[in-house]
Symmetry: D2
Subunit: 481 residues, 4 copies
């Protein structure tokens, strides 16, 4: 089967019966609701990009299962070049969408499963890898949009899993003849409701006794028992109220839309289960997911966003006639520096990638550089926001509604007093883009995406070869033990 | 006359006919429109605070004109203690409102005028100071809310005032027998539409030939020819749509509401004119305004906001059960450090204040510490936002609507999965407060308030005694010239 | 008795038999050894400054014990104005010396003892305060240089006091009829060997069972059993080798010279003992010491150093002809900003100071601002070093010896190729000053002075009223418990 | 001919008559003078590393001129893999030496010449490339140590080249039948006196009329008219005085030793001239040099140093028993993060390298990532120093001489009071290493190496495709021009 077209994707989503709620009401039509529509449009755009011959090799890959051309979001990385292309895909989609591509977590989850199932099977004599490959091949053949789900609700963090409400982490509640029943909730799910399937992983390391929580599986979007409760904030309201999407900061694709994904006793058939009880592999699974995801999230996705911000800030400076000022040039250059330092980490993570486990054919990026990518971006993105906000000027905060441009009582004033080196509307439009980036949810969003910085600091400490550095230092010091 | 009560203030505003537009429509009733209402409520709260005996001396002062108790926002600082109390007032109002107090720019403009008119009169033989005192006494006696207006529209910054559209800066267009007619627009006016009067200053230094732009005056809110075009953004839309203000990030007082204030041939009678053509004093006037305003804005107002953020972040940590983690304590401590370093600058600016000009009785804070206060806050506030966003967790980005708590289909899920050490609603409420601070317009808002950092860096360079430092360094180096 | 003159001080030091070692050899004459001489000269300069009428009130104070004029280094702060003057003294001495004034720790230790002995006596019925006042009056009357000693050797930090070698903390080893015998060592003692007396405090909080470690006392420089082992580093060697002190980075006063001060069974007579066994007051004593010391160290001493650095950097820029470049001006302004933000914290700490304990007449600075002062400086000083190093240029690293200016083979070349807007020698001299600051021991020295930043972060967290901030945040959030 | 051995190198240097001055005296024997000896030892170590089979391919390469195995320092990069190996070599030598490898600038200058001479020849019909290849082949065959010289004396920077003393920039003063005579001086030459040859490049872009300054050439170390005036500072003095090099911070290889290299009418034969008058290529030459050099300097050399610092800091923490503290782990992790972010930039610069000019066979790293590498390190190294200084503790500033360990009067005290989890000597040794890094000349040295950050910011702005970012931003904004 060929790659899905944007139109086919939209049709397929219409046909699924998704149980999704936004601002206290059921979403009747994902593609028409002004908020959820942005997710559908962004996902459709990904199908469009994959069909564009200019993106061949970046948005597409060759399946190692079938030899067919597939969407790279469904590809298991088989080489360092694959890892580089994977990051390039994240960069391209961010530059194009200015928001989440909604398939990133899914793609990285698939890679983590491809790797860990090989390892579990080798150690436990299970056949998860075969099941996984069957699922993957089906997804590839039908060109499905696959989301990934990782973070559990957790509740009171002072309590371990088994101490609190057992449902705060997704877990097996019943074994059946041909599958299992799971309960719990995954938080912060980016656009999951508009994917065809979701791949669910345990959210962290597990101990003996917590076997019921060591479950990984795939589940269709419209499975019985799944409810999506969507995020809602000021930008949601603004979009709902907007008469013209071009009055918004990211007209077509909006902000990142997430949801709480509730599993209320959902049945998972055996063929979709890729881990079930092997607590000693939960940590490895999540670490491998984090490995690829931090590379992409920190060193590619946010770099694409930064490109938009830098371009918009430069335009805003030109529109105001201040682009030649020394401190403006310095601010632009610093944004580039911060963004490209993270970008370099993704490239390094890719080219220093390794097959993992050996013999699996699955390539994982270097963990050290992947974590540095994400930490650099977590700090750097706030700085980029600050620099862009500096250039954007006070108007980024105080701009009036675009509707004033149609209001006979104010139109003349706004056109007159907000024009600068370009007409008012153009200046307002680029200012609105910058408002979205400097005064939206991007600061904490970037910080917490792919896990918070604290988690990456721990990973980085583990990934670094500190013993080797001690050896080098002792040699210089002339210390012999 | 006694201080105005909140109810009297609200009534007085209702009686004024304010020509204000929001999102393309005229605001019919400032106190009822959900957006403008927040400004009215915040201003009313200031009257309430002034009436509270616990705030005696902070919110009130003794008029040097009448010897009566007045609102400190209408007071001219007569001592270092006055400057300290002025900063304390800014701190208290920020802690109480969590948004702009809307009278800060007005207060600092009045102080700048009290100082500069003395100086102009001495040099030019004018009688601006008498006019100003008459105006001030009237404002004090009637306990008026007085706003201040500084920043011109400016347009293309690559052009000097006289090169571009002459209206981009507020200026005199006609002299009349008993006054002048002015035209132009002031941007970024915080809540000006809900004040009784606005004091207008030139926005920057002026040169010979630009006499028409050297105008300072007072003007009532409802003067003919004045139009307010209000800011509009996502938070405006959210508030308009909200069925319950407690679903918002700052329920009662909202975000800072600003406007473009257009002067379309507005007549200003002589008695309200405090500068008219004296180009060589424009720079001094704006510098004295900046002096007090940067102290208050950087070292007091934002410190009060930081107190809210720190308190909310600590609560969020406790509600999630993570408050004992080392990195959480470190983040809290760093927020305090950043905020109190700016606070210290305001205290230092006040206690190192000086009478200016000598013999005027008007006290101005130290310019060096005032500028350091604002620059420290401009950088520090972004860091505080980042630290608070870290503690708040991903939920600060992805939280669903409060309406889900009433939605039978989702209520149970939200209550179950968003509870932690406290019930879901409490956690959502504090998270919403943090969303307002870490994902609202506060980053660039704080940066640009009281002028952008670049302006303060220039002022700071000028305020510092670099020659004295060179002398000290030469002595250490043993260099004799 | 009048204040001591510099000459009298030098004579008095010659007469003491100090047991001091530098680079493996005994120092025979403190005033002649090129390294220890800098400490004697710096201390003598303090006596000179105190005698200068221009410094009246800053370098001197009026004794509350005798009503006589005394050196402010021996004064107990009796008001907020005293605290301000105390910080002004630290600023002045740093600007003048460009190195440690060597009496700062002593002064702050005396203040801590004045406060805590009042409190111990009230609680325990002891008479430490009287003893202390007798000692202080004697020091004031004879205008003695008094050093302070706080930090113990500690050894393996993973062990508590009683677990490891008992001597790693100074402690009582024997009680005698008329006094006690103490053993241990204090580290990082700035110039202690050139003071007349040293006041010794316990280095940290103590628990029940550790009574022998709760000792505070005064001891003369030449007491039997005391050995000073001086620091030795590259700058020591450079000074030893220098034929002309004007070839050095701080010609007259050198770098901060410290020592390990060993107490090998030293007898302390009862009248010099100010704490002995009261473990529950050790923490309070050290906290009060830290309170004043962090204010002075962070917000005044290092600000004086920064003034030298800023002045030298500005001169270096002018000497190279680059002072008008935008990034140079920005660097200078940033140095001022960083330095003055710390300075503001000292001012705020002083003006928000309080009598402690109430009724004691002893004034202590505000702990919150004092800690912020030190933390701001700890970070800021590294940044100032970096900015100064940027302006200084590569020459700050690569400059040749001043002796080349006398070497016939190279003199012409150096004069020709190192001249710029000024002759080579002048440029080399200011570059050498900057080398001392950007490439000496100042980074870690500033960081660890008055305790490391980690200690101050803990103090700051304790000093901040977080409960009040929570209350404010709850009010904004509409949360009622 | 085979690669040179360390012994052969040392012999060859002894045979050259180098005119070098240190601290006002002629250096009679480079290999015996305690200061210059470190440069000879470091250079010899490079020959040793090249001979070690474990470093095959990193320290060696295959000459494209002869097909022979050569030292990589003499290799022209012919592929991206070469660029990666080039950076790996810089990393390895820094980790091994803890100081400059003294051949880095030479290597990068050779690469710049290989590239630009191709281009000049194509445009001007010259035969510089052939000359250059002849020189290079001779250097490769004899395995010569080749230094590079770039930065001119410059003098007063407010003046252009032709306005001031003409000698402030190296330039042609006379044309002869078979060569040219040059005059001027190059500053900051790392170890040039211990190389066999130096390759000299113009220090910056040149304009028409400045043809005499557009000279590039090779010159032997002992050429008539060349004088080396060596840097001299505190660390020089310490080394001169040291009785045992293991009392020093980098015992064997010392600090980076630089010199002022004076050209007093030096004759350069035609065959050694690679540019002569082509002003329009001066800028390209220096930019290509900067391109490779910033990659290596910022993203590899300093990363190797950071590895030593991190290892030493970790050891210091373990030796003091504090390595488990949360803030120590965080500091270690942050050092890794900062260092590896720069490392990633070098890797990215290499893998994104390109043939330049096309058809030349010469590969240059990507300029954008190379500049980001250096800027990241310039800022990051100061932070690493600060973090290491934090961990090292006050002892890094106040430690006594190692000679006290042999002094009967103090030996017992030092052994007792400086021991912790390890004996005192071991702790002192690692502390001395950290003193070298946190309190030496590394801050400004790192900042200014490969040009100051300001130069790199300009290069970065030029290297970034800002127009493309504007295009992306306009698309998101819906702006059509």
């Amino acid at each position: 089967m060929a790659l899905m077209t944007p139109a086919e994707y939209k049709r397929s989503i219409q046909q699924m019966k998704v149980n999704a709620y936004l601002d206290g009401r059921k979403v009747e039509n994902l593609g028409e609701n002004p908020v959820t529509r942005t997710v559908v449009e962004a996902t459709a755009k990904l199908y469009e990009l994959a069909a564009d011959p200019r993106n061949e090799g970046v948005m597409t890959a060759t399946s190692h299962l079938t030899g067919e051309k597939i969407n790279r979001n469904l590809h298991v990385n088989r080489s360092r070049e694959d890892l580089e292309k994977r990051a390039d895909m994240a960069l391209l989609t961010s530059q194009t969408l200015g928001t989440c591509n909604y398939r990133c977590v899914g793609c990285d989850s698939l890679n983590a499963l491809a790797s860990i199932t090989t390892e579990v099977d080798r150690n436990k004599g299970t056949d998860y890898n075969k099941r996984f490959n069957n699922f993957l091949q089906r997804a590839q053949t039908n060109d499905l949009a696959v989301s990934g789900a990782v973070t559990d609700a957790k509740g009171d963090r002072a309590k371990r899993i088994l101490e609190g409400d057992p449902d705060m982490y997704v877990h097996l509640v019943k074994k059946k003849a041909d599958g299992i029943v799971v309960r719990g909730a995954k938080m912060h799910q980016s656009g999951a409701f508009s994917a065809h399937e979701t791949v669910v992983l345990p959210g962290g390391a597990l101990r003996k006794g917590e076997e019921d929580y060591a479950v990984a599986f795939a589940v269709p979007n419209s499975a019985r028992g799944i409810t999506y409760i969507l995020q809602y904030n000021a930008l949601s309201a603004e979009r709902e109220k907007a008469e013209d999407i071009y009055h918004l900061g990211n007209p077509e694709f909006g902000q990142r839309e997430t949801c709480l994904m509730v599993f209320d006793d959902v049945f998972i058939p055996d063929e979709n289960i890729f881990l079930c009880g092997e607590v000693d592999f939960a940590s490895g699974l999540i670490q491998r997911f984090a490995k690829t995801h931090r590379m992409n999230c920190g060193g590619a996705c946010k770099v694409g966003f930064a490109d938009i911000i830098i371009g918009a800030a430069q335009l805003a400076a030109e529109y105001s006639g201040i682009e030649k000022a020394a401190h403006i040039r310095e601010a632009i250059t610093n944004m580039i520096r911060l963004s490209e330092a993270a970008h370099a980490c993704a490239i390094a993570a890719a080219v220093k990638g390794r097959e993992e486990p050996p013999g699996s054919g699955v390539f994982m990026p270097d963990d050290l550089f992947g974590n540095v990518a994400k930490i650099s971006t977590a700090h750097g993105f706030w700085q980029i926001m600050a620099l862009a906000g500096d250039i954007a000027g006070g108007l980024v905060v105080t701009m009036p509604s675009f509707k004033e441009l149609k209001n006979p009582a104010t139109k003349g004033y706004v056109e007159k007093y907000l024009k600068a080196a370009v007409p008012a509307e153009k200046r307002m439009r680029i200012t609105k883009v910058l408002q979205n980036w400097t005064a939206g949810l991007h600061g904490p969003g970037t910080w917490h995406g792919a896990g918070s910085t604290q988690a990456q600091m721990i990973s980085l400490h583990r990934a670094a070869n500190i013993e080797e550095k001690k050896r080098i230092a002792k040699k210089i010091a002339g210390i012999e033990d």
